[in-house]
C-alpha cells in the first residue's frame, strides 16, 4: 500500500473529464483544497498517456468520455491501474452501477474509489474521499453499497443483522473507519466497535483492526 503522506509534497492529481466546465471546476476545487493538479485531459487515451508521463498519486476519472460516451473512462481507469500499479484511481459517474464498481474492484481494491458525480457538491467529503483513495483506501458510493446489500437481501446471515448493524455494515462497506461511523450515527466509538464485532461474528468474517482490510472483507462478502 502506498502512503502518499510520506512523499511530503501535495498530492499530485490527474483529472480526466470531457466536460470542460466540470474539468475546470474540479481542478479549481482540488487546487483550492491544496492538491496539485498536474494534468487535465478530456478522454481515455489522453488519460493513459498523462498517467504514464506524470505518474501522479491519483487520477480522478469520469466514466463517460469520448469517443463513444459509454464507459471509456472506466476502461481507461482499469487500464492505467494495470500499467501503473502504484497509481490510485477515483472514478466519478453520473450514475453508479454495482456492476461497474465490481469491475473496478477486480483490478485490485486498494486505492480505488467509485463515487456518484453529485458527491462533488459536498466539497469537504469529496476532498476527504480523494485523499483517502490516494492513501490506498477504498471508497464506494453509498448507492453502490445499497445495491450490493439489496442483492444479498435474502441471505440468511445478512437477515440476522439488526437494523442498526445493517447501517454500520453499509458505512463500513463505504470505507469508513469506526471513528467516522460513530460520528455519522451519533453514537460512541465503543458502541460502534461492539456492532462491528457482532457483524463480523454473524457473517463469519475474520476480525481485523486494519480499516482497509476490513472494507475488503465486507466487500468480498457482499459481492460473493
Amino acid at each position: 500500500m502506498r502512503d502518499a503522506q510520506t512523499s511530503n509534497g501535495p498530492l499530485r492529481v490527474v483529472i480526466a473529464e470531457d466536460s470542460s466546465l466540470l474539468r475546470e471546476g474540479l481542478a479549481r476545487l482540488l487546487g483550492d483544497a491544496g492538491l496539485d493538479v498536474v494534468a487535465k485531459v478530456g478522454d481515455g487515451t489522453a488519460l493513459i498517456s498523462a498517467a504514464e508521463r506524470h505518474s501522479p498519486d491519483i487520477a480522478v476519472v469520469d466514466v463517460r468520455m469520448p469517443p463513444g460516451y459509454r464507459d471509456e473512462g472506466l476502461k481507461a481507469a482499469i487500464e492505467i491501474r494495470r500499467r501503473v500499479p502504484d497509481l490510485t484511481v477515483l472514478v466519478l459517474s453520473q450514475y453508479v452501477e454495482e456492476r461497474y464498481g465490481a469491475e473496478l474492484l477486480e483490478s485490485g481494491a486498494a486505492g480505488v474509489g467509485y463515487l456518484l458525480k453529485d458527491r462533488v457538491a459536498d466539497v469537504p467529503d469529496f476532498v476527504a474521499a480523494v485523499r483517502d483513495v490516494a492513501s490506498g483506501g477504498t471508497v464506494l458510493d453509498p448507492e453502490v453499497v445499497s445495491q450490493l446489500l439489496s442483492r444479498r437481501r435474502r441471505d440468511q446471515r445478512l437477515a440476522s443483522l439488526t437494523p442498526r448493524e445493517r447501517e454500520v455494515l453499509s458505512l463500513m462497506a463505504e470505507g469508513r473507519s469506526n471513528h467516522a461511523i460513530a460520528r455519522a450515527l451519533y453514537v460512541t466509538r465503543g458502541a460502534v466497535e461492539k456492532h462491528v464485532k457482532n457483524i463480523f461474528g454473524k457473517l463469519g468474517l475474520a476480525q481485523t483492526d486494519d480499516d482497509h482490510r476490513r472494507v475488503l472483507a465486507v466487500l468480498t462478502y457482499l459481492r460473493g
Binding site: 463517460r64 464507459d71 453520473q94 450514475y95 452501477e97 456492476r99 461497474y100 457538491a121
Partner: protein, 479 residues
C-alpha cells in the same frame, strides 16, 4: 387463447391471458405439426389420406349439379347480353355491372356449397394433421341478396375453395392409391415366406442365378425387407400429409395478396400506435422535467439571488440560504439523474440486458429474482423494449400488486425467433391493461416491433406479464 409454456421442467399455464393491443394472429399458426414420429399420429395421418378420396367424390357429387347449371346459365346469360349488345349498342359501366351481377347470382349456389366443403376440409386438416389453416374470406357486406352474391363472387377465396375441392378428387385418388400400396407392400413383406412358396414352388428368382428356395432364405429376405417397407410406408404417409398441408394452405388459406392486405392494415395501426406512444413519452418527459428539476432550479436560483442580496447586510441568513440552495441543487441533480436513467439506462447499452435488469431488480423495493439466458446481444431496439417491459412491470409490482417477491425471466426461443420476457409476482392481481397507460404503452411499443404482450392477472393474483419480441424482423435480431 390458452398459453402453456414449458421451460426447464417448470410449466406455467396461463388460464386466460389478455392479449393487450391489436389481436393479430401470429405469422405461422401451427398447433402441433407431425414432426415427431408417433404411431398414433401416423395412424391418424393414414386415415386422413384414405378418407380424402371418398370425401372428394362426395363434394364433387354435391357440386356437380350447381356447377353444370352455372355453366349453362352463364352461357345463356352471355349469349343474351351479347345479343342485346349487338342489337342496341348497349354499353357503358352500369350495363357491364348488371352483366357481372348476373353472373354472380348464377354462381351463388356454387360458392355457398364450396364454402361448406372448404370449411370441412380446414377442420379435417387441423384435426388430423395438426395444422391450422385460417379462413381467408373477406367480410360479406350487409345488403340485398344480389349485393351479397356479388361480394362473394368477387372474393377469390371462394374460387380457390372450389379449385381445392375439384383438385381433391385427383389428389385423393393419389393419396388413397399410395396408402393402399404401402399397406399391401407391408402386409406382403410379413407374409413373404408363405406366398413365396405358393407362387414359386421351384423357388423364387431373386437375382440372376440366385434363387430363394428354402424357408430360412425366405425368412431372411422377409426380415431384411420388413424395415424397408415400414420406412417406406412411414415416409410416404408423412410426405403425403405434408404435401396435403401445403396444398391446403395454398388454396384454402389466405392468398399472398390477402395476407399482405391484412399485414398492411396491421402495420398502419401499429405505426400510428408507436407514434402515439412516442408522443406520450415526450409529454411525460416534459412533465417530469417541468415538475421536477425545473422547479428545483427556479427555487435554487431564487435562493442564490436572495443570498447575494443578504450577503452584505445579513451574512447569517445568507449562509442559511446558501445551505438551502446547496440542498436544492443536489435534489435537482438526483431528479435529473432519475429522469435520464428512465429515458435510457446507460448500463443497458454498455453491458446488455442481464446487467441492466439485475440493476433494476436491485433497486426494486422487493426481492426480485433475475434469470436472463441469452447468447449474444439482441439488437438495441429489442433490448431497449425488453428492458422497458421489465422496468414498467417491476414498477407496477412495487406500486400496485402488494407482492412480497417477483421473478424476471428472459430467454430466447430459437425455433420461433422470439425473445420472451416474463415477469411474475405473488401479489393480489387484478391488473387491468385498460386502466392506466403503462401496460398499453408497452403494448404499443411492442406492436411497433411486431411483438406481443400478454397480461394475466386474475383477482387474487398472481400477475403474470409476458412479452414476446420477434428477432427475425429486418434490422432486428442478434447482434
Amino acid at each position: 387463447m390458452i398459453l402453456a409454456v414449458v421451460r426447464r421442467g417448470r410449466k406455467y399455464r396461463l388460464s386466460a391471458p389478455i392479449a393487450v393491443g391489436p389481436k393479430t394472429e401470429p405469422g405461422h399458426d401451427s398447433v402441433g405439426p407431425i414432426h415427431s414420429p408417433s404411431f398414433a399420429r401416423l395412424g391418424t395421418a393414414a386415415g386422413f389420406l384414405l378418407t380424402s378420396l371418398p370425401l372428394a367424390i362426395f363434394w364433387f357429387a354435391v357440386l356437380a349439379a350447381p356447377m353444370l347449371l352455372g355453366v349453362f346459365l352463364a352461357a345463356v346469360w352471355v349469349v343474351a347480353i351479347g345479343l342485346i349488345l349487338a342489337v342496341l349498342s348497349w354499353t357503358g359501366r352500369p350495363q357491364r355491372q348488371t352483366f357481372a351481377r348476373g353472373l354472380a347470382l348464377i354462381s351463388t349456389p356454387l360458392t355457398l356449397l364450396s364454402v361448406h366443403g372448404a370449411q370441412a376440409e380446414r377442420r379435417r386438416i387441423a384435426r388430423s394433421l395438426g395444422y391450422q389453416v385460417s379462413s381467408p374470406y373477406r367480410r360479406v357486406p350487409r345488403g340485398s341478396t344480389l349485393d351479397r352474391a356479388n361480394a362473394r363472387a368477387e372474393d377469390p377465396a371462394f374460387w380457390r375453395d372450389l379449385a381445392y375441392l375439384l383438385l381433391l378428387v385427383a389428389v385423393g385418388a393419389l393419396e388413397f392409391a399410395s396408402v393402399v400400396a404401402a399397406l399391401v407392400f407391408f402386409l406382403g413383406t410379413i407374409t413373404l415366406p408363405a406366398w413365396l412358396f405358393v407362387a414359386f414352388p421351384e423357388g423364387a428368382p431373386l437375382w440372376q442365378e440366385v434363387r430363394i428356395d428354402t424357408l430360412p432364405e425366405a425368412l431372411t429376405v422377409a426380415v431384411v425387407a420388413l424395415p424397408v417397407s415400414v420406412l417406406f410406408g412411414y415416409l410416404l404417409i408423412i410426405g403425403l400429409s405434408q404435401a396435403h398441408v401445403v396444398l391446403g394452405r395454398a388454396l384454402l388459406g389466405p392468398s399472398r395478396r390477402a395476407r399482405l392486405a391484412e399485414r398492411v392494415e396491421e402495420l398502419t395501426e401499429s405505426r400510428s400506435r408507436a407514434l402515439a406512444a412516442t408522443l406520450a413519452e415526450r409529454r411525460r418527459i416534459e412533465r417530469d422535467l417541468h415538475d421536477g428539476a425545473q422547479q428545483r432550479l427556479v427555487s435554487l436560483a431564487m435562493e442564490l439571488g436572495m443570498a447575494r442580496e443578504k450577503m452584505a447586510t445579513d451574512p447569517d441568513t445568507a449562509r442559511e440560504l446558501l445551505e438551502e440552495a446547496h440542498v436544492e441543487a443536489k435534489r435537482a441533480l438526483a431528479d435529473i439523474r432519475d429522469l435520464v436513467q428512465g429515458i435510457h439506462p446507460a448500463l443497458l447499452s454498455d453491458r446488455g440486458l442481464d446487467a441492466a435488469i439485475s440493476a433494476l431488480a436491485s433497486r426494486s423495493p422487493l426481492p426480485v429474482e433475475v434469470d436472463v439466458e441469452l447468447d449474444g446481444r439482441p439488437s438495441e431496439v429489442v433490448e431497449t423494449t425488453a428492458y422497458f417491459v421489465v422496468a414498467e412491470s417491476l414498477a407496477n409490482v412495487a406500486k400496485h400488486s402488494g407482492a412480497s417477491e417477483a421473478r424476471v425471466t428472459v430467454w430466447r426461443v430459437p425455433e420461433d425467433w422470439l425473445l420472451v420476457v416474463e415477469v411474475v409476482d405473488d401479489g393480489r392481481g387484478g391488473a387491468d391493461p385498460e386502466v392506466g397507460t403503462g401496460l398499453t404503452g408497452l403494448a404499443d411499443r411492442l406492436a411497433a416491433l411486431d411483438g406481443r404482450l400478454f397480461v394475466e392477472s386474475p383477482a387474487g393474483g398472481p400477475t403474470h406479464v409476458r412479452a414476446e419480441l420477434p428477432l427475425d424482423a429486418p434490422g432486428v435480431g442478434i447482434r
